[in-house]
Every structure is written in structure tokens, then in C-alpha cells.
């Protein structure tokens, strides 16, 4: 990888971009396979928003790097160990309950993160956050509505969503454990201290679980490493699929 992505600001913007892209990529796989047409369209809108957001962040990172670097260089020509998305984002879609549980945890965090980014010392990050916080609140509402319907729906849905939430809970904890990339960003004033977001997030999560008539979550032992480029085995396969065509013709433009 010839681009210098080590500058703390660049690294942080890439971290934000990687989350949006990897999660958007996961969601985009649902297009054409949703449980009913209307929901297929709704979830695809979330995917579109996230990939659009990824483009904004990658575009900014490319500018910071300069030297003719483009958003596609960053998305398609970095290896797995260079990506710093959270582990949560790269987990498989599973069934609808799994996907919405994953979204519920991430979307709720994402809202609080963007709220904090509106106070960033970096003007561009403030601007991006202000632009996308509204759509992110729609995402969070959408996920929450589904947790409620699955929790307080049928016995089968309650059982499934309980398992999904339990499965993703340990991954969610990484959102609030600072790693090098976001700790440095906080020290320099352009990103939040993520550990401070945890209590608001847990309160919101719990309030939805209560409405959903679900028991409070046992969080389990945190799974982390994504933010340091130490991914799960899923990550390699995501990139293999996503990057293969672009890498097969590195000199082509599309």
C-alpha cells in the first residue's frame, strides 16, 4: 500500500469510513432477499446511506493524503490488516433478527458518535456529521422498531431475537473500548472518547429492550481488535468479494 495513512487524522477518518463501508457492504447483500418487498427497500436505503457516508469519509481521507489518492484506492486496494472497522460491522448477516440486532447496536452507537462529532475540532467532520445525523436517527429508529416487533411478537421471534442480541453483545462492547486510532483522535480533539458514550448507549438499548419485553442483556466478555486491524476470519472474505474485480484490473477506471 503506497499511500501514507498513518497520520492520526487520516487514520481516524479511515476508521469511520471502514465502519460505514463494511457494514454497508453487509447490508447490500440483502437486496432482493428481504422478507417482504417494503422491508427490502427500507433496508437497502440504510445500505445506500452507509455507502454514501463511506464515500464522504474516504473522499476526505483521500484529500488528506493527496498525491492523486482516490476513494477507490482506499476502499479497494487496502488489505484486511489495514482496515480499522469494528468487529461488529463485519459479522455475517445471518437471518433478519441477526442483521437487525447488529444494526440496533451499531446504529444507536452511530447516532451518539455523530452527536459527538458535531463538536469535533475538525470542520469537515463537523459538517459530515451534521449532514448525516438525521438519516442515522432514522436507521436507529428502524432497528429499534424491529427489535420491539421481534421481541414482543411471537414466541419464535422472541427466542430468535434474544439469541441474536446475546450473540452480538460481546462485539458491541468494542464500540466503547478506545484503541489507538480513536484514542489518538480524541487526544487531538477531533473524535470523542468512546468510553464516555457507553452509558447513554446502554440506557437507550435497555429502554428499547424493555419496550420489546426482553430481559436485560448480559454483555459477556468483549470481543475486540477490529479497530487495530485484527479482524475475524470473515473480514478476508468480505474484502475478497468486494475488491476482486477492481484488483483484477488495477489500471482500469470504471
Amino acid at each position: 500500500m503506497k499511500w501514507d495513512t498513518c497520520d492520526p487524522k487520516t487514520a481516524y477518518v479511515l476508521h469511520l469510513a471502514d465502519d460505514a463501508l463494511i457494514l454497508g457492504q453487509r447490508l447490500s447483500a440483502w437486496c432482493g432477499h428481504g422478507p417482504i418487498l417494503e422491508q427490502d427497500i427500507a433496508l437497502t436505503n440504510v445500505a445506500l446511506d452507509l455507502i454514501g457516508l463511506a464515500r464522504q469519509y474516504y473522499g476526505y481521507a483521500a484529500e488528506l493524503i493527496g498525491d492523486g489518492c482516490t476513494e477507490n484506492d482506499l476502499a479497494f486496494f487496502r488489505d484486511s490488516r489495514a482496515f480499522t472497522n469494528h468487529l461488529l460491522c463485519e459479522q455475517p448477516n445471518g437471518h433478519w433478527g441477526d442483521t437487525l440486532a447488529r444494526q440496533f447496536f451499531f446504529d444507536t452507537f452511530h447516532f451518539f458518535q455523530l452527536e459527538a462529532l458535531q463538536q469535533s475540532s475538525d470542520e469537515r467532520l463537523r459538517h459530515i456529521a451534521a449532514k448525516v445525523i438525521k438519516e442515522t436517527s432514522y436507521h436507529a429508529q428502524f432497528s429499534a422498531e424491529w427489535i420491539i416487533r421481534m421481541g414482543d411478537g411471537t414466541e419464535e421471534s422472541r427466542s430468535k431475537i434474544t439469541q441474536s442480541l446475546r450473540h452480538f453483545a460481546p462485539f458491541a462492547l468494542e464500540l466503547f473500548i478506545p484503541a489507538q486510532v480513536d484514542a489518538a483522535a480524541h487526544d487531538l480533539g477531533f473524535g470523542p472518547d468512546v468510553s464516555v458514550l457507553e452509558s447513554d448507549w446502554k440506557e437507550k438499548i435497555q429502554s428499547i429492550l424493555t419496550i420489546a419485553t426482553l430481559s436485560p442483556l448480559e454483555w459477556g466478555f468483549p470481543k475486540k481488535g477490529g479497530k487495530s486491524g485484527m479482524h475475524s476470519e470473515h473480514h478476508g472474505y468480505i474484502l475478497a468479494e468486494m475488491q476482486s474485480l477492481a484488483r483484477a484490473y488495477p489500471d482500469a477506471t470504471w
Partner: protein, 321 residues
């Protein structure tokens, strides 16, 4: 003595005068049945048609291309929804239509039973398949049934961007690296004949066509639409430097149209009968999504029922203005 004109005669005069038939109008049984079949099959085509293109979303070679493709496929879902909605005004239900699709009773456009093998297929589908669909859809904006014609007007507005996007992809590939140009030519080679088959056989082979034309459901013949499409598309191929895989294609000065080679109708009928390259896979994907989504739909319905009985039990509240 009172009116001796039958309702059928009045109906015929009504549609001949270019009026729109609306859901609460009287209509011949045959008209209603034909429309339910045609509109629902059109809807199924949009939904099944999502699958060949959705196949490349996760592998799109640039972020912009990924976004555009995802938006296009989502549009197709929306079009399917507008059409199911129009069909439901005629007394059928979404469930019934979906069951008919999965059971094989209802058809969808033959073109979607072909596989998408390369990224260039995304270009070819937008350019040719959407291009062919547009010819049909513009005509249907003038169809006699109001809800169908209004759905088509909305669809046509969104569709023209799809065709342009497809053509842009092909144009860009044709001007790109030698591998890209070869990819584009290969996609054109595979999608050309299935695209012109989309219009269906000559109307003298189509028993329903005459009555559909009479009722102003269908406004142009299959052959007319096919010729329109070919005449429009050949110059586009020439413009981007790709060769249409038909050695018999030539401009006919006298008729002012392109003459073209013989269509392999055996292939068309084989595909319609369920023996195309991807028929089984397409239906299996739709059936799977439906089956695996059952518990989700049930959960939401159960929750809605619980909410309804909770509000019924709640004491009446005064509402703020």
C-alpha cells in the same frame, strides 16, 4: 324501450374514446383477468429482475458504481411494488400473486433467466434490457386502465436514468483497456438476442394480443416494438464501437428500418417453459426469501394485533389539539 347497448358495447366505446377505466367501473371479466395477469407478471418481472443485477452489487469495481447499482436495483423493487399495488385494485391480493409466481402459474419476463457473468453485464442489462422495457413501458403509459397507466408514468420517469447508466457503463468499457472492451463485446454478444426476444413472438402467434389491442391495454404490436428498439439501438452500438452479433443486420433504405436475422424461437420457448439457464435459481431465491421471512412477517403481525387490543383496552383519553 330502454337502452339496448350492452355494457360490453359501452365499454368498448369508452376505451376507444381514450377514456381511462378506473377500479369502480364496470369491466368485462376478460378485461379484468387479462389485466390481473399482465400487471402481476409485469410486477414479478421487476422483482425477479432484481436478482441478476443484485448479483454484482457486492463486487462493483468502484464505490460510485456500487451506489448506482444498489439504487437501480432498489428502484426495481419500487416498480414491482407500484405494479402489485395497481393489480390489487382489480381484486387480487399480494399473497395470491406471490403464490402464483412461486408455483409457476404466473410468468415473468424470460430475460431474467439468463446469468450475469461479468461486470459488463450490468452495462448490457441497463442498455438493452431496460432499453427494450422502455419501449414497452412508454406505450403502456397510454394503456386504458387508470391505475396501470399511472404506475407506468411513474416508472418511466425513473427508468430513463437506468438505461443511460447502462449505456454509460458500456461506453466507458468500450473506450477502456483491451480487456474492458472485450468484456463489453462479450456481454453484448450474450444479451443481444435474449433482449430482442423479450418483445415476444409476432402477434399472429399471440392469441391474447388481438383482444388486448381492442381493449387498448396494448397499444402497439410486439413486432412494432421490437423494430423500434432495434432501430434505436443499432446506431448506439455503432457509436461506442461495439458489434451487434447479427450478421444479417443491415439498414433497409426502402423501409427506413433495419433488417435483422432470424430469432431462435425454440430458445425463447424453452426458457419460458422453465428450461433456461437460471429459471430454477431465480424462483428458488424468491421462494427462499419468502419462506425465511415468514417468522419475521408473523412477528410483526402478532405485535400489531397485540397493540390493537392494548389500545382497545385503554380508557379513552382526551387528545390535545
Amino acid at each position: 324501450m330502454g337502452e339496448t347497448h350492452s355494457l360490453e358495447d359501452r365499454f368498448q366505446a369508452f376505451v376507444e374514446a381514450e377514456n381511462k377505466v378506473e377500479p369502480k367501473h364496470w369491466m368485462p371479466d376478460g378485461y379484468r383477468k387479462t389485466l390481473v395477469r399482465q400487471i402481476s407478471q409485469h410486477a414479478h418481472s421487476e422483482i425477479v429482475g432484481m436478482l441478476p443485477e443484485a448479483n454484482w452489487i457486492t463486487r462493483a469495481p468502484s464505490l460510485r458504481a456500487k451506489l448506482i447499482l444498489l439504487a437501480k436495483v432498489q428502484d426495481e423493487a419500487g416498480h414491482g411494488l407500484y405494479l402489485y399495488s395497481a393489480a390489487e385494485t382489480l381484486g387480487t391480493s399480494r399473497d395470491q400473486m406471490i403464490d402464483d409466481l412461486h408455483s409457476g402459474k404466473a410468468k415473468y419476463s424470460s430475460i431474467f433467466n439468463y446469468p450475469t457473468l461479468t461486470w459488463a453485464d450490468m452495462g448490457a442489462i441497463g442498455w438493452l434490457v431496460d432499453g427494450a422495457a422502455i419501449a414497452n413501458q412508454v406505450m403502456l403509459c397510454r394503456t386504458s386502465y387508470g391505475p396501470y397507466s399511472r404506475a407506468m408514468v411513474r416508472i418511466c420517469k425513473e427508468e430513463s436514468f437506468h438505461q443511460r447508466q447502462g449505456f454509460e457503463i458500456m461506453m466507458h468499457l468500450a473506450k477502456g483497456t483491451p480487456e474492458q472492451k472485450a468484456m463489453a463485446q462479450d456481454a453484448l454478444n450474450r444479451w443481444w438476442w435474449p433482449s430482442i426476444m423479450m418483445f415476444g413472438p409476432s402477434d399472429d402467434q399471440s392469441p391474447n394480443s388481438a383482444q388486448s389491442m381492442k381493449w387498448r391495454i396494448k397499444r402497439k404490436s410486439n413486432d412494432e416494438l421490437r423494430q423500434e428498439f432495434i432501430d434505436k439501438t443499432v446506431p448506439q452500438a455503432e457509436f461506442i464501437g461495439l458489434t451487434i452479433p447479427d450478421p444479417d443486420l443491415r439498414w433497409n433504405k426502402e423501409t427506413g428500418h433495419y433488417d435483422f436475422g432470424t430469432i431462435n424461437w425454440t430458445e425463447f420457448f424453452d426458457v419460458i417453459a422453465g428450461n433456461g439457464p437460471c429459471n430454477a435459481e431465480r424462483l428458488a431465491a424468491r421462494q427462499k426469501a419468502h419462506d425465511e421471512g415468514a417468522w419475521v412477517r408473523e412477528a410483526a403481525a402478532a405485535y400489531a394485533a397485540k397493540q390493537a387490543s392494548r389500545s382497545a383496552r385503554r380508557p379513552a383519553q382526551t387528545h390535545a389539539a
